[in-house]
Symmetry: D2
Subunit: 376 residues, 4 copies
């Protein structure tokens, strides 16, 4: 692991998620740019001293020298956005598979370069777009792609949070880097959570965004990046979308929600009650779909662990990415064809797509033109 | 009453709403442009034969000839949009107060002319923007205006319906006129329900829309008017809004919903559970506000009839417009100053505003410019 | 109307409910045992002076002397429980139909005597067990009786309220008579709301309770009647029930809820969201049944007024009793057979059943025996 | 681990829960009474061959012979009820700490003997009453014990499931042992899930049940144990409870729910939405309490892993028992006093209490007496 030292939120989540299914062991790490923090963090994680490194460069180099059976199989990179690209490139080049926190890189160019390197290296690459790890999101995709709701017409996706409603960068470490353009990139709220919403739509519907009309807002005085935004999106096949994301929606926690309406039916899913999905019909009662029931698809069942009514949550969704990554990796190591059930995790292409989204949104927000085509 | 013959939906609702509080009696009517239908309808309503009229012109003229104590006090006009203006003008000119179903007229010019006539005549005028009749909507307005949520930053308002998801104009009388530009006006879905959503925001926040960026869609082949649309709106005070309305959102009934976030808190209300409102706070638990509790404002209490937990609905909201209109009318007849609690019903200015909204949305949807200022 | 003077809750609800559909006009009343209050109340209701009476005896006698076309058709009795029996008997004996608030009488013996008088007189009699007036309750009954959920096994019915959680009899007029055995009868909470819950089960399932095991509690010090209770009930056909009712469940409003499970499926309905019912199945998704959809039964449709998504509430449910009573009465007056759709309102037999329930519950609560058979 | 071979539900959950926080490694196991199954299961779990045992006796004896630094620290027993007592006793006697699935044993006598052995041995003992591991349940306990809702008056606890609504013992391995008295004990549904409900009340309120009045039912023909039941319970301090549990409540998943009302307020929590709790008040709005907010107690925060809005579920609750057990064990090994935050996991006394509950319920169900005192 690179990053995720003591006090990190997302690093701890990565470790729990990786642990959960007993497929992955943490064997080494560089948990901070500050060596003493890295060492202290590694000790807390019961790592032997010689596998705790002072820099990610050192770690990648040293691990690459170990015999194949002993060295790490892959690296998890859980640093802020501006420290994604270099360690990822270096790991790939040294022959390691990579799991990378999103957004994939700081710039679109880096993302494309990384995509190229993944292709060239033939290594596995996973991007932790967590929300597509939920079994119900996979169920939604399955149902939409097989035509249950007909041709998609209308998509509403929203991602309201409230935790940045005031100027808390001075006291909240999580907030500090997110509102700092040097560490976050061109977009704040839209990069941090808007990309999740954008990814969710393309994942579930299989439709690509064509052009969009966006307005980004900065409500908290003195903030340098957007903390709120909304847009109209035109998708392939004449489907129309509205995407909103906000981090000043006071009192909201993490209420990512998607609603899709087609010619035959509709569906609705909200991340805060992830085990439930609604199917809506013109002429019969709305149905409450619940995880781990017999009527669920094979894809959803593969990504569930407990029987109906025993709620699974965010950590399990996260763990699904790691588990599918690990199962694919095992298959590769055993020379087998990985199952299509396991191959379903977000990769570098979703990362490139996310960076294209950020570029386009920022361009649109600065433009007087109504529609801006998706940047390529 | 003008319109609302046998089989009419909204006419029946108007009558129930007017009846409900025992303040208003139906004394005469012209219920259809077809005299035999008008007569049959009037008989079903227990009207004497001589108060059932063959045309609205006849009704207004004949009633005006009756002694003041016998003639109707006011007229309710519940016809399709294109038959709003003329009877309303005629009634005002003959000295009758008017209750008019929304949208106020077929064109903005008519709306302004009607506004002028209301002013000149000194007559009472109510527009049945039903949703502002809910006690909880009045509570929301009270709380926002007194600053409970701070300065308004972000508004989401949505109005999804699904009943026009397919081409049903041939079999559904309610659908037929709504999708017909000759009877509905320039906008379909946006005129029918988008105006409600627009009105709701301005009513609750007291903020005027400045400019907007809209896209109207027609999903059902062959339909002449929009059946769906979405827009970004800029309000006074740098508040930002998203408004969506759809009649092809399959499986949705009448799910008008508003969420408002300010600098201190947020609120949420949905028409389908009208007795509940959510207050959201950055640092303490979300509160579930419920009608008819001791903590409700005087304005909300004035518009409720039953104790907590005895749900009131759409008809009661509708009836609040009629009751407040009637109480104001009584005060006028008794030469008293009407209470501010009673004076709170939508009037012709809200109607003009709605027509301005329709004009602006249609213009924006046809424009390549990102922002179109609200038409005056 | 007898009772329901200024400040009365249930009297006002009766009037609104009777008004709502335009089938019933209030023509006379004795609104209080205190003549001046009766007169003041009648004037507020726009009644002519000569139809406002000083006592119910006077009213019944005077109205009976009027020509048939002028006198009242029926009387609504909305007094506290101890003033139900005598005016109801007197009205029946003078040839008037009767609508009576529940519980039917002060004692079981009175209830039986009233039942006999209804039978002898051939007059119509309605008891306002409001909750069975909801369209969704009628839908539930329709579905259970036609076998949708199979043979009924398990019933949970609960009726929590919180408004009597402290000693408020001194300040709350509604509370004062309910906690007074002289006005309420043998049971407090169980008589006031437990009877509604009991009635709801027998109405929906068509099953009669056979025996029960109850515990009544009085939590508020100094109170003379129960303010809470719970019981196990055995129904015909080996169905088992649990019934709870409480008026000290702090923070609850009027949360009457029923859940029924059969051999094939289950259903759930809650009064506070009355337009929704849940159907539960062993092997397919839970369904959300909503009023005014095309899939609803004829019985439910007959008792609805607005399209889907336009919520109807308590007043409309109440009005359904009055409307069905009025339609039946009209049919009788016209010499026609009333439709089975209209004949579906609670009558004196439900009242007798409620009094039997109260007697049995009180006996059981005082007994060491586990099971007490329903009193006959 | 003892039990939990391939195909086991609860064994897999135990392993995931133990893995989750990186505090515990699976080092050995006997996963089945059938050696070949044990070996196959152990291999799937990446265990070395020499730590996969053919019988639990062998495992305990062999592990005890290993040097302290190499042998297992504790054993998890996840077998059916009738194979709880002997391995637990043997493990304690050989110096191993124990985690045991609930109910603790097959009979009350065994439970008491085990309690004695735990006391004598000084070993740690955890019973996986999972539901008390939820952070929100700990929050509920904290709030009730510090008096937020005043003196407890009324408790409703319910645990409806539907999966045993028909005779599925032949096809469902999970069902087969639960409905078999030889493996389950004296009670079916009440032992399996009723004990969870019972434990939840005593945990949250700190009140002991004094006596109860129960009816157990067997709805599915041919079944030997109860599949449904309900009871009235009297608690210390004159609090009154209703407990229902059912496995024939068709369409229910795992809807454990508790509502508690005191003299000042009430609370409600449902396992299927575990991150939300409702606080109810007589004179102010209901509050929606959500995990991982700043207003949560230290005890709840200690048992949470993700920020607000990132749902945690059943596995995390389960993991809290393991984590607290592991943290306590670490403190013991380091000679430190374990924190009171960590010591909060169910132990053998809760197991004894559960067996007393089962004995009492069965006795009550077979009795004609109304109240049966809790068996000691």
């Amino acid at each position: 692991m690179i990053g995720g030292g003591n006090g990190s939120f997302i690093g701890a989540v990565h470790r729990i998620a990786a642990n959960l299914d007993g497929q992955i062991d943490l064997v080494c790490g560089c948990f901070s740019g500050t060596p003493s923090v890295s060492v202290a963090s590694g000790r807390n994680l019961f790592l032997p001293e010689d596998r705790i490194y002072n820099s990610y460069q050192e770690m990648i180099e040293e691990e690459a020298k170990l015999p194949e059976a002993e060295r790490m199989d892959f690296v998890s990179i859980v640093t802020p956005n501006h420290v994604h690209f270099e360690p990822a490139m270096m790991a790939l080049k040294h022959g390691f598979h990579v799991v990378l926190d999103k957004p994939v890189t700081y710039t679109l160019e880096e993302a494309k370069a990384l995509r190229e390197q993944v292709k060239v290296s033939g290594k596995l690459f996973a991007l932790t777009h967590t929300y597509t790890g939920y079994p119900m999101v996979k169920e939604a995709r399955t149902r939409v792609l097989r035509g249950d709701i007909g041709k998609v017409r209308r998509v509403y996706v929203e991602y309201p949070q409230g935790w940045l409603y005031s100027d808390c960068a001075g006291v909240n470490k999580q907030a500090a880097w997110r509102v700092d353009p040097k560490r976050s990139g061109k977009a704040g709220c839209m990069g941090d959570i808007g990309t999740h919403a954008f990814n969710l739509v393309e994942y579930i519907t299989g439709l690509k965004a064509i052009e969009l009309c966006a307005e980004l807002n900065t409500f908290v005085p003195g903030r340098l990046l957007d903390d709120d935004g909304a847009m109209l999106i035109r998708y392939e096949g004449d489907a129309k979308g509205v995407l909103t994301a906000s981090q000043i929606a006071v009192g909201e926690e993490n209420a990512l929600k998607i609603r899709i309406y087609g010619t035959k039916g509709g569906l609705e899913w909200c991340q805060e009650e992830p085990n439930t999905m609604w199917m809506k019909w013109p002429d019969r009662p709305r149905e409450m779909i619940r995880t781990s029931n017999g009527y669920m698809s094979e894809m959803a069942a593969h990504n569930s662990r407990t029987p109906g009514g025993h709620p699974e949550g965010y950590i399990e969704a996260f763990a699904n990415i790691y588990r599918n990554f690990a199962l694919t990796l095992q298959a590769m190591k055993e020379g087998k064809e990985p199952s299509s059930l396991c191959l379903d995790f977000p990769s570098v292409q979703e990362g490139v797509r996310g960076m294209q989204f950020i570029e386009t949104v920022v361009a649109s927000s600065n433009s007087d033109k109504k529609w801006v085509k998706m940047v390529d």
